[in-house]
């Protein structure tokens, strides 16, 4: 791992040479191999960090011989308690006590080993023999201890930074089930996973991605369940990520997804540890990114976006009902505006006579064609949603009231839109929020615009064509090589037990076969046989 990479684009070099001072020429000045002199090593650190005000260089003398040593760390990323009590105190004071007790004095040659073995009262320490590795550790919040006479630097874990506590999930709230959500600290997140599943087969592997951000990215799977091919594929795709910075799981998602030309999410994003763990146990792989409270779960099928954790926590009838509701709501959200336009402008005969006459009567004074009217209203509601989402909660509600009630009512009174259109737009807006996954909801809201255009051109035939095109797109989508439309296309009879219906737990004795788990049974196939009762 290199601190600075050579610029690949030749243009960059020119720019750097023209502008002075150059961005970072430290690499040219500094020899990155470590020496055994504290002063020299310290100079190397200072060449990089000397300009930064939060970098701390603490020089001190060790023992009776006065061996020069130094601590290098970033203020704010470390726990100063640990540094004061467990490092500095033991190195500056307790070590002299030790010397006296053993009646020997530490020599420069053996100082490093002595300190490593006797004098640092911290659980997790490491060694670094290159400046690169050392610098990375320092930048992640560890303390570098430079000792005279050693070409290695001791890395002491004293991480401690302000972090958000584990709190309730914001985007995936639930009535039943655990209320904890991932936070921005990777270690906390992995701990949350371990708390939910104590299987030692659950593997958490970490790699660093991002040329400059050096973000920790962990992928989690359960050995013995997850398809090895899938793990390989995940590793392969993660290693292809080559960018400056990884700030969020969403960025990883865009790097590893199969099709960039699709509005539909091809990985599942969740901030719930319970969702993550149950997906892991179904044979999927989760990807966690430091600084992001979201986990990616791959592979994802369309049906997963209609599942909420409560489906499993509640009784199966209720879970199935809720799922059915979500599927119909999604169809409603995507197709109803288009169907309305098609019926109103092309096939008024489709409506019962009283309804047709009522809608026609309400539209008599509307100056716009139905398509323009619907388009205006849909855009308005999207604007309201977006502005409501970005504003503080208190103001967001006001916007909701102003938009929903005032604009809606005023538009009808002003004769710009008909009451039936307001009703329709409101219903579709509500329906589009029923889907538990935010990104899937957005995709559905997006596709209704092309559908509306098709409906305006060709009527119901256009809507039918739109439906066909949508389905073609969906069946040709893949998520990590797995079919996106399982278990509908191709039909996987076993998996349909946990699809629109969520059958009783004792019937779900297999993991989803479409994910190709190594171990397909998640319970004894016939739980009643051995118990001898129902």
């Amino acid at each position: 791992m290199k601190i600075t990479k050579k610029d690949r684009n030749p243009k960059n070099r020119e720019v750097m040479e023209e502008n002075d001072p150059p961005q970072l020429k430290a690499e040219e000045k500094v020899d990155v191999t470590l020496s055994n002199s504290t002063e020299e090593n310290l100079e190397k650190f200072k060449a990089f960090l000397g300009d930064s005000s939060d970098a701390v260089f603490r020089e001190f003398r060790l023992g009776s011989q006065g061996i020069p040593c130094a601590l290098v760390f970033i203020d704010g990323l470390v726990n100063s308690d640990v540094i004061n009590k467990n490092i500095l105190k033991s190195l500056m004071y307790e070590i002299t006590v030790l010397e006296r007790a053993r009646n020997e004095s530490i020599q420069v040659e053996s100082a490093y080993d002595f300190i490593k073995q006797n004098a640092v009262a911290v659980g997790e320490i490491a060694e670094a023999s290159t400046l690169d590795k050392c610098m990375l550790m320092v930048m992640s919040g560890e303390v570098a201890l430079i000792v005279e006479g050693s070409e290695k630097i001791l890395i002491v874990n004293a991480r401690g930074w302000p972090a958000r506590d584990v709190s309730e999930p914001v985007t995936e709230g639930s009535v039943r089930g655990p209320k904890d959500a991932f936070t921005e600290t990777l270690r906390v997140n992995t701990a949350l996973l371990r708390r939910k599943c104590k299987d030692p087969n659950m593997v958490i592997k970490t790699i660093q991605l991002g040329r400059r951000s050096k973000t920790d990215v962990s992928y989690v799977y359960v050995k013995g369940i997850t398809d090895p091919g899938l793990i390989e594929e995940v590793e392969k795709r993660l290693n292809q990520v080559d960018v400056d910075e990884i700030m969020e799981t969403g960025q990883i998602e865009q790097w590893i997804q199969d099709s960039t030309l699709s509005p539909f999410p091809q990985v599942q994003l969740t901030e719930r540890p319970d969702t993550t763990v149950s997906n892991l146990l179904e044979g999927r792989v989760a990807i966690l990114v430091d600084n992001s409270p979201f986990a990616i779960i791959v592979p994802a099928g369309l049906y997963q976006f209609f599942q909420a954790p409560e489906d499993y926590y509640d009784r199966w009838i209720i879970g199935s009902f809720l799922r059915f509701l979500r599927w119909s709501a999604s169809l409603l959200a995507a197709f109803v505006p288009a169907l309305y336009i098609a019926v109103i402008t092309y096939h008024p005969s489709f409506l019962p006579t009283p309804l047709a006459l009522a809608i026609a009567a309400n539209r008599v004074n509307i100056p716009f064609p139905a398509f323009v009217e619907a388009f205006l209203m849909e855009v308005t509601i999207e604007l309201l949603r977006e502005s409501g989402a970005r504003l503080p909660k208190a103001i967001g509600q006001t916007i909701g009231i102003v938009g929903g009630i005032v604009i809606g009512d005023a538009a009808v009174r002003a004769g710009i839109t008909s009451p039936s259109m307001v009703l329709l737009v409101a219903i579709t807006a509500i329906a589009s929020f029923v889907i538990p996954t935010y990104s899937a909801g957005i995709a559905l809201r997006l596709i209704r615009f092309p559908l509306m255009i098709l409906a305006a051109i060709l009527g119901l035939y256009g809507v039918a064509l739109g439906f066909i095109l949508l389905n073609i797109h969906l069946v040709s989508l893949k998520s990590f090589g797995f079919d996106y439309m399982t278990p509908q296309a191709p039909v996987v009879p076993q998996d349909t037990r946990d699809w629109i219906l969520r059958l009783p737990r004792n019937l779900l004795w297999r993991r989803p076969i479409s994910v190709h788990p190594v171990d397909i049974d998640r319970m004894d196939q016939d739980p009643y046989k051995e118990n001898g009762n129902g």
């Binding site: 096939h347 005969s349 489709f350 064509l465 066909i468 191709p490």
Partner: protein
């Protein structure tokens, strides 16, 4: 694990056969049957289904003798290069004519039913483009779409049949229950054209998992349209009477037109049915377009079928737009029907030939 091209499953095999057969013709089938077979409408539909099943099974058996080979290639290995290639060309012509016929039939019906003043060309081109989009995605996508739409198509027909049961009268049905044999046989060639498209079996067998493309599945694939056709004939004749059924252009739509939509938001079931019927027509057009280009590619021994879709699409469009009026379309329909029947007979002949003389090519493919 990450397979680029999965083999097709059994259900996909069944639905490919069924959706290709169930197409434009479902809306006019009772008329065709009643017109050509008169009192034998019901029996001839049934017998046509049986005959098609026999053809389909022969195609299946023949296809499975040559693993990894489509009809285009095994014709050559069975009959020698000149004759085999010639028959291959005839097959391609047949598939292309079938595609254009289905496309034209669809566009004409839709124009008459829903979009009276939209130009025929627009309907055709939009449908063709959608079919091209699907065909370009390959056999897997086509199979999945078939699988996805087949239940919808079946359900829509069952709904039409079930909801119009109020108008059904046993007395009106009685004349077709005791069919004269001669009329039945005479009507069969026309009725068989309603099953047009089952020849897809000739080409898809290499893509299906080896054990899944068996005879029972082939029979189910044929049985689904046959049963639906029989029910449609029963319903149409029972609701309208035999002679009126001959007069009504789209009896299935007429059945849908006497249904009041259950529920308050919509009134006319026929429009709802037409929308679902568009799906049926689409799967036929797309499947036929795909197998036309596939067979062309195989004839030239090339790999990339996608180029040929681009080449074939304008030709199919021209063929579809060429007939000027209803009689001409019917004439083309009849000829294509005869061609299809001829091909099917040929396959049976080939099968006997292969069984007697041919060596097995199971292993080397």
């Amino acid at each position: 694990m990450v397979k680029k091209h999965d083999k097709l499953g059994g259900l996909q095999y069944i639905s490919l056969i069924s959706t290709t057969i169930l197409g434009v013709i479902v809306i006019s089938l009772p008329k065709i049957a009643a017109e050509s077979a008169q009192e034998g409408a019901l029996l001839s539909t049934f017998l046509a289904g049986v005959l098609v099943a026999i053809f389909a099974v022969s195609m299946n058996i023949l296809g499975r003798r040559f693993q990894k080979k489509t009809v285009i290639e095994y014709l050559v290995s069975l009959l020698g290069k000149p004759l085999g290639k010639f028959l291959g060309v005839i097959l391609i012509i047949y598939f292309m004519f079938s595609t254009s016929l289905v496309l034209r039939g669809f566009s004409d019906a839709l124009k008459g039913l829903l979009l009276h003043s939209t130009p025929l060309e627009v309907i055709m081109v939009s449908m063709l483009f959608t079919a091209v989009y699907l065909s370009l995605n390959g056999i897997n996508a086509i199979a999945k779409i078939s699988e996805l739409f087949l239940p919808i198509i079946i359900l829509s027909l069952i709904l039409v049949i079930g909801l119009s049961i109020n108008s059904f009268s046993y007395v009106r049905l009685r004349p077709v229950l005791f069919p004269p044999l001669w009329r039945t046989v005479k009507g069969m060639p026309n009725v068989i054209t309603a099953f047009l498209g089952y020849e897809i079996i000739l080409l898809i067998i290499p893509f299906v998992e080896r054990k899944k493309a068996d005879i029972p599945r082939t029979l189910i694939g044929i049985a689904i349209p046959t049963v639906l056709y029989i029910l449609l004939v029963i319903m149409a004749v029972g609701a309208f009477g035999l002679r009126p059924s001959q007069q009504i252009n789209y009896p299935t739509i007429a059945l849908a037109r006497i249904i009041n939509f259950p529920g308050a938001f919509a009134d006319r079931f026929d429009i709802f049915f037409v929308i679902l019927w568009i799906l049926a027509a689409f799967t036929s057009v797309a499947n036929l377009l795909y197998i036309s280009s596939l067979s062309t590619v195989r004839l030239f021994g090339l790999r990339n079928y996608q180029t040929f879709i681009y080449i074939l699409t304008p030709i199919v469009y021209m063929l579809a737009i060429l007939p000027q009026d209803l009689p001409e379309i019917r004439k083309v329909n009849t000829y294509v029907g005869y061609l299809g029947a001829g091909i099917s007979m040929l396959v049976v002949g080939l099968l006997i030939f292969a069984l007697v003389f041919g060596k097995k090519e199971h292993e080397n493919g």
